[in-house]
Symmetry: C2
Subunit: 123 residues, 2 copies
Amino acid sequence: MSLIYENENIKIETEASEIPWLKIFTQVAYKEMSEVPKEIKLEIYHLLDIIEREMLLYYKPTKINIASFGNYLPHVHWHIMARFEEDAYYPEPMWGEKKRKSTLSLPSFKNFCTNLIGNINGK
Amino acid sequence: MSLIYENENIKIETEASEIPWLKIFTQVAYKEMSEVPKEIKLEIYHLLDIIEREMLLYYKPTKINIASFGNYLPHVHWHIMARFEEDAYYPEPMWGEKKRKSTLSLPSFKNFCTNLIGNINGK
């Protein structure tokens, strides 16, 4: 995984995967979302919205998946993933049972991240 | 599953499970969260917050899990679950690999739902 964006409240990292997958972490290690200050909660939801729109536009995925578990790592973080009928787990969640060998061929994730950061920075 | 609360924007249903598990659906069948009108988005996030706080207070779970997939049913809905070290899948998500036979013994889910609805209605 690697860091693609951060500010004083949150950071965005990529998850190494066959699918486009980002994670938003709070900078302070809150355990549960209800402990996060309201302004940072709203910032996370706003970023999920921006990322989702960008994923829909750029990848035209079958579905967007969003999740916040933190069972292994009790530090609030959100997963957002673009899912495709051809990906290895669809229609199961990425934590579910593998269904097939993936035959995905997707446009550049690097370019996606560059566009996204431009979008977040309001360019 | 059964309906425990609804208004003009959303409805809350229970999921039959060994763990406390609720689902929030939009009344209108939007496919993706970014299509949902802003006021209804904020209402969903507010309800997730209320449910999480009530779960933490009532069940003292190990962790709260939240997810929105919709791969099988492309109608925006959010899962919120109280997770416990003793539940059958912990620390995997509820969609992951089963780890053990559950030995959970929890207080009444019916009473939890009654308290929650009172809370949502501002009693």
